[in-house]
């Protein structure tokens, strides 16, 4: 039996567990799709075929022996190349990190996915050191949009967006510091979950901005997103920011009704700086959910500014020695931003961190009277590769810095978000389903309801 690219992770796991399909068949099918399409899409930087086949055979042997296998048995997945993968240097989209020794142990989240039976098939392209919203990479070339290969995948988890949007794998993992899961989800037309800050372990992944970094999954359905997320939950002493809360499985909850939820549209900043397609996407989602109330999120523009300042300074701190020793091996655009970040006075960074505390209290107040906020994931559909500027509300602005204008004020205080794809023509675009801290279950529940209503869906790749 061969797998079709449209098989979801849960369908693959069901077929493998019930012996209608082998894990090896599912793996070979994914490897064949990568071979067939990734020459154009450029989402993979490493394909771990031998490892994947060995893992798949082990799962098939366990099933033949009557052993219990996990909820992701035989499901192929891939990870942004800032995750440690045993035997590979963790390049994090850079040239410099290729000189690192190969990782000796997988990232915690890979271990958890594989413990649930998933099969790692490779590492994925990304923007250099995750300081990126485009999915472009001067060293490896751009991850291309699976619906129009002349357009951006979004970043910085560009390969993750492309690989899932292109249906090469049903699940990928990525990171989100300011929007790097939600932006590629939007441009590539897939579902992405940025959990609450501290929910999923970041152990053995290459950092960017410690106080803003999150890891999370991408998928083509909400069920798959919840499956992967549930498999990866749990505390981890190897990540100092990882929660010690117990497991809070979401899959059993996603089909619960949403009629009792108080859902509002984020106003102010989130209704400005948008193209008509972003307005249309939020409108469709709000209408389907019966949401009419608009809630102003106070000082969201300033929150975005504070996130920008913290990002550029913490990022500069991380790379200071590399900037001194190997400045010419950086992507020049990344290097020049990081050097500038090193020059921002410390007092402004402290002000940004204090403002963060104030802003968090404002959102906590809002979430006393609403359960969910709706906001655009990106101001526009995927721009052309290499596009430098766009016109937002009559102002010509740089694309790179402003793609995340609606995601940054949310990750700034670590709120959980599911990005859902609205399949507009000719290109999809995402909407953020934002919940209170630790309520990923609510965001996933709303996403699932929208999926069942047919309002959101991951479109088949349109580029091939």
């Amino acid at each position: 039996m061969t797998t079709k690219s449209e098989m979801t992770a849960s369908e693959i796991a069901g077929a493998v567990t019930s012996r209608k399909m082998s894990a090896l068949d599912a793996t070979e099918a994914a490897l064949a799709r990568i071979k067939q399409h990734d020459g154009i899409l450029n989402s993979f930087t490493d394909v771990t075929a031998d490892r994947a086949r060995a893992k798949a055979r082990a799962i098939d042997a366990d099933i033949a022996a009557g052993k219990t296998v996990g909820s992701l048995a035989g499901v192929p997945f891939a990870v942004k190349n800032l995750f440690d993968v045993t035997g590979l240097p963790t390049r994090a989209g850079s040239k410099i990190n290729r000189d690192l020794a190969p990782a000796k142990r997988d990232a915690t989240l890979i271990e958890r996915m594989e413990a649930a039976g998933a099969v790692l098939v490779g590492a994925l392209n990304m923007g250099e050191y995750a300081y990126d919203f485009t999915g472009e990479n001067v060293h490896d070339g751009p991850s291309r949009n699976p619906h129009d290969t002349t357009r951006m995948s979004g970043g910085s988890s560009g390969g993750s967006g492309t690989a899932v949007g292109g249906a090469l794998v049903p699940i990928a993992l990525g990171s989100d510091t300011n929007g790097s899961i939600r932006v590629p989800s939007s441009f590539c037309g897939i579902f992405g979950l940025k959990p609450t800050y501290g929910r999923l372990s970041r152990a053995r992944s290459f950092p960017f901005v410690a106080s803003l970094d999150h890891l999370g999954p991408f998928a083509r359905s909400v069920t798959d997103l919840a499956l992967a997320y549930d498999a990866m939950q749990g505390s981890d002493p190897d990540d100092g920011a990882c929660t010690t809360r117990g497991l809070e499985p979401t899959l059993p909850l996603i089909a619960n009704p949403v009629s009792d939820l108080r859902i509002a549209i984020a106003g102010g900043h989130f209704q400005k700086n948008v193209f008509p397609e972003a307005v249309e996407a939020v409108s469709r989602v709000a209408k389907a959910l019966g949401a009419t109330k608009v809630v102003d999120v106070p000082e969201a523009s300033r929150a975005r500014a504070a996130a920008y300042v913290i990002t550029t300074t913490e990022g500069a701190s991380l790379h200071l020695d590399r900037l001194r020793k190997r400045p010419n091996d950086f992507d020049p655009a990344v290097r020049d931003r990081l050097i500038a970040g090193a020059m921002v006075p410390a007092a402004l960074v402290d002000r940004a961190q204090k403002f963060r505390r104030w802003y968090r209290a404002q959102l906590a107040e809002i979430f006393k009277s609403v359960d969910v906020l709706l906001a655009p994931a990106t101001p526009c559909t995927a721009p052309k590769l290499g596009q430098v500027n766009f016109n937002l509300d009559g102002v010509e602005l740089p694309v790179r810095a402003n793609i995340g204008i609606h995601t940054q004020p949310i990750s700034f205080i670590g709120l959980p978000v599911v990005a859902v794809p609205v399949p507009l023509e000719p290109l999809p675009i995402g909407v953020q389903i934002i919940a209170a801290p630790w309520r990923e279950d609510i965001a996933l529940r709303v996403a699932y309801a929208l999926e069942k209503m047919g309002v959101v869906a991951a479109p088949a790749p349109r580029a091939f």
Binding site: Y197, A333, M343, A347, L348, R351, Q353, K354, R360
Partner: protein, 59 residues
Amino acid sequence: MAEPLDDYIDAVSKALALPVEDAWRPAVRANLDVSLRLGRMVDEFALPDETEPAPIFTA
């Protein structure tokens, strides 16, 4: 003619032993200008003296 911020860039570059080649200077200056503008936007917001920073978010 020297641009605003050039003296500052030179001083911090020296203090941090951070190289800034002439060819990179316009981009570094432009990025620093954006960062300082956004930093000022944060700075302009009055906060109580007792406000604690929140470098790590906890719910």
